[in-house]
Amino acid sequence: MNAENVIRFEETRDPAKSTSVAKLVDVEIDPATLLVSDTNELDLKAYRNNADKYLESLARDDAQLLINALWEYPTERYEDCIVAKLPPPKYVIPREKPVPQPKPLTRWEEFAKRKGIEPNKKKSNLTWDDVLKKWVPRFGYKKSAAEKEKDWLIEIPQSEDPYVDMFEKKAQVKSEKVSKNEFQRLRNIAKAKNVKVPSMGLPPTPKLNSRQLNSAAKIAHLSTASLGKFQPHSSKEKLLSRGNIVPLEKKRKLPVPSLEEERKRNLNIANSILNKKPKLDVDKVVNRQIHSEEVEASEQKQSKKRKGRGGGKKRRSKGHHPANKEGKKPKGGGGKRLFGGKGKQQSGRKRR
């Protein structure tokens, strides 16, 4: 369809002027950007005479050339409009952003490609749940709600310890799966960006900030056998207590007991002290009895032997205390007491 058949124009003001424009050098026209590049020399005489008028006539000529070129292209009718089909742009303009790169393959995709494993076919979004008797989405909040509804009871398998919280265990398994997936995702990103990541442990921090350095110095200060008690330090330095680094267990504050309860508790304590009875350790008593019996028996044996021999060879003891003959260990207490009272002899069993 020709454009002239449909588009009607008004009469020109100057019918003498035609649509043809003569140029010394052909102008370059890019229809897709509606761009005309006219490299002809300017008419300096006309320019100096009246610049604005000259520029307008120049613009008219170039615009006429563009219109002439555009009217050559095949036209189409589109919703009461005549539309010209234009070729792709010739004039090259830089892109806003770089050309998109294909997504780098993940570790699994690479492996699957190498082994010729085909990717899974697309799964349907909904799955039929036999227990709930309804369609449940494969993932998302509705799936997790359905799971919660379904698993109000979990059977403990025979091999399992019956006191294990199966709900907690299930949650733990799930969270482990999630963190494993996250780890793999990060590893794939690192591989795609060509970042070296150690196979074990955490990567070293490249540059510590002042706060981190400060805390590292403080930790080093405390890391001696005496917990930094004898380490030299400047007076301005703010030192940490051990609790700042290794979190101490917080003492839980119990709620204030009622008057009645407090009285009862105190009475109990008083009673327990007043009614204290020595504890009878049967094992200890039996052992002591056996020991004393054995000692007695051995003493009797010794005395019999001496009588029987009647002054035989006299055994020499090399620096041995005569008491050692009975196999008794030497007892402490021969030395000076450091903290004992002045000349006060301690008696009785050793209290701990």
Binding site: A3, I7, F9, E10, E11, T12, R13, P15, K17, S18, T19, P31, A32, T33, L34, L35, V36, S37, D38, T39, L42, A51, L55, E56, L58, A59, R60, D62, A63, Q64, L66, I67, N68, L70, W71, E76, Y78, I82, V83, A84, K85, L86, P88, P89, I93, P94, R95, E96, K97, P98, V99, P100, Q101, L186, I189, A190, N194, V195, K196, P203
Partner: protein
């Protein structure tokens, strides 16, 4: 060791779509432009920037207030705001004693400054000073560049590219012929670029194509080129790289002749003459020995022959 950026996954679908919209694409979004002023401005400059904003309107974002930015000295603030507003063009206006009525037009590639050119605005006439109908909002203008210097001078050639980038809205595949209403003309003469803007009226000419008549609608100004900061050719070419998918494949070996019939050219490999079957003659027949030595495993014979 490089630093991995954007490790965090978008948590919502909306966030994901937002990032995808801003990421690199094969067919890109229309370039958005930022309009903002420096530390000081003048009345002329304000009117000029307002008119330029009007020329760009649906694809432009004016920033409020004054900005303590010197794009030619330090371009980082522009790069950050380009990232923030996802815009790759900027128009910056400033007015100082040294450079009065100063406009910097620039563009970015991948949120990095590519080209910047500084212009001094002279003989400014705004849109309001011209009477008559103006162009409709969002209209794609025709761009005319006149003067041999736009082709000969490499700096001006790049400036032309920058101006085309700044004022063309987006390349089109089809065009409503009656929608051609606005022309922006740049004429270069002695380091000065005359910018004029006209409205097209198409008139009857007697032939198939209409006759063009123009009417000045403004804004009109003379731009004197001041400082420029243009990208190296390497960087410019890498920014111009076309994606593989958009490259037009040349159709080989298929032609159409004058009568519209399709002609194809088929390429065949060289024929093996030795295997060619020629006329059979007794003398050329292989002996039994020869046949035995060349014998190949033969296919099983059809059994029906034996039955008959």
């Amino acid at each position: 060791m490089g630093v991995v950026q954007r490790v965090k996954k978008p948590t919502t679908r909306k966030g994901k779509k937002f990032l995808e919209e801003r990421g690199p694409k094969i067919i890109e979004n229309t370039k958005q432009s930022l309009f903002f002023y420096g530390r000081s401005s003048s009345e002329t400059l304000k009117r000029c920037m307002k008119d330029l904003y009007h020329l760009k309107k649906p694809d432009a974002y004016p920033l409020k207030g004054k900005h303590d930015v010197l794009p030619m000295e330090n371009s980082t603030p522009i790069e950050t705001s380009s990232k923030k507003y996802d815009s790759s063009l900027f128009f910056f206006g400033s007015h100082t004693k040294k450079r009065p009525n100063n406009i910097i037009i620039g563009r970015l590639h991948d949120h990095q400054i590519l080209d910047m050119a500084e212009f001094g605005v002279e003989n400014f006439k705004s849109l309001d000073e011209f009477e008559g109908e103006k162009f409709p909002l969002g209209m794609k203008p025709c761009l005319l560049f006149a003067g041999p210097q736009f082709e000969l001078d490499p700096t001006l050639k790049r400036i032309k590219n920058l101006l085309v980038d700044a004022f063309q809205r987006e390349p089109v595949s089809s065009l409503r012929l009656q929608g051609l209403e606005h022309v922006i003309m740049f004429t270069c003469h002695e380091n000065k670029i005359h910018m004029r803007s006209y409205r097209i009226s198409l008139k009857k000419s007697g032939s198939r194509t209409p006759r063009v008549e123009l009417e000045e609608i403004g804004p009109s100004m003379d731009l004197s080129v001041r400082r420029t900061k243009l990208a190296s050719d390497d960087l410019f070419n890498s920014a111009c790289k076309k994606p593989k998918e958009l490259k037009v494949k040349t159709v080989k070996n298929i032609k159409r002749d004058v009568f519209g019939s399709k002609l194809g050219r088929v390429h065949i490999r060289q024929q093996d003459i030795k295997k060619l079957q020629t006329r059979k003659m007794k003398g050329l027949k292989k002996t039994r020995k020869e046949r035995a030595s060349h014998k190949k495993p033969t296919k099983s014979q059809p059994s029906n022959k034996i039955d008959n």
